[in-house]
């Protein structure tokens, strides 16, 4: 089981690649130039942030309910793969020279006391994440659209494991 501290370090390490993109997405400017609005980039950053929120939520759940490790570890790894892939797309898409700004990955919140309630909460979160990835897919083109469709499909399939 990955400790929350290690997770945070990993999250921050990965953040390095996408922080600048978040600056673009939130409308930061480089000097006098205003970046072109890029709704796809905004959507990618939102999905990427959601992936990290889920990763942290799985880590917190695993810390509280270690007996769920056999079910949840591979699901968490799926999200880590999503975060890596989407982070790469964000890095490739961002404007050169954009001013980085911090990304806040929201706090993990309380983990339910029972494993059953924790699984139910995760299933709800996966369904929401799948819907968000589907919406982002509808905005995107090419390989980005295909990747987001796969992310949505994967997240919907996680509900099978969580039930």
């Amino acid at each position: 089981v990955t400790s929350p501290a290690l997770t945070r370090r990993r999250a921050l390490g990965l953040l390095g690649g996408a922080v600048a993109a978040a600056g673009v997405a939130s409308g930061c400017t480089t000097g006098s130039e205003t970046p072109e609005p890029d709704p796809v980039l905004d959507a990618l950053v939102a999905v990427w942030t959601g992936e990290w929120q889920l990763i942290r939520r799985y880590d917190a759940t695993l810390a509280r309910h270690p007996s769920l490790a056999a079910r949840l570890t591979s699901v968490r790894e799926d999200h880590a793969a999503h975060a890596r892939a989407i982070g790469s797309l964000i890095t490739a898409r961002q404007s050169p020279g954009a001013t980085p700004s911090a990304v806040a990955v929201a706090g993990k919140g309380a983990v339910p006391a029972t494993a059953a309630a924790a699984l139910a909460g995760l299933a709800t979160a996966e369904t929401k994440a799948a819907a968000a990835a589907t919406s982002a897919c509808m905005l995107a083109a090419g390989d980005t659209a295909a990747l987001l469709a796969s992310v949505a499909a994967c997240e919907a399939s996680h509900v099978v494991v969580l039930r």
Partner: protein, 137 residues
């Protein structure tokens, strides 16, 4: 035409479920029967859609070569996983080449394939990972 490829995959899925369903019993058999109907419905919707666009849809082959022999339930479950993975790949390939309602149908179909593949994998093994990070890729 990517929807043509999706149609070919759905034709093959309907055929494969007919074969594999016969090797299953109980709840697995019922799920295979229901899934065959789902793929049939998806195929029929695609035929209508392709007719609207003026494309010439490929006919179903009279028989398909199965990737491995299916003598028993275990092989049938493995084939079910493979069918869903291949159908997922066809729908994923359709995503970048479609827009609006066609794109929505492609994402929904990809998602449904991924969910069914996870269900079948779980029936094969309770311990191996039931999901893959990028279905259809």
């Amino acid at each position: 035409m990517s929807l043509v490829d999706a149609l070919a995959a759905e034709h093959a899925a309907v055929y494969a479920y007919g074969v594999l369903g016969a090797r299953l019993t109980g709840a697995d058999r019922r799920e295979a029967t229901a899934t065959e109907a789902t793929h049939r419905a998806r195929r029929d919707a695609l035929l209508l859609r392709l007719a609207e666009t003026g494309a010439t849809p490929p006919p179903a082959a009279p028989a398909y070569t199965l990737p491995f022999p299916v003598p028993d339930a275990r092989a049938a479950l493995r084939l079910a996983v493979l069918v869903e993975e291949r159908t997922a790949a066809a729908w994923r390939a359709a995503v970048p080449r479609t827009t609006a309602t066609d794109r929505t149908a492609a994402v929904t179909s990809l998602t449904d394939c991924a969910v069914r593949a996870a269900r079948w994998r779980r029936r094969i093994s309770a311990t191996a990972p039931a999901t893959v990070p990028f279905p259809g890729s």
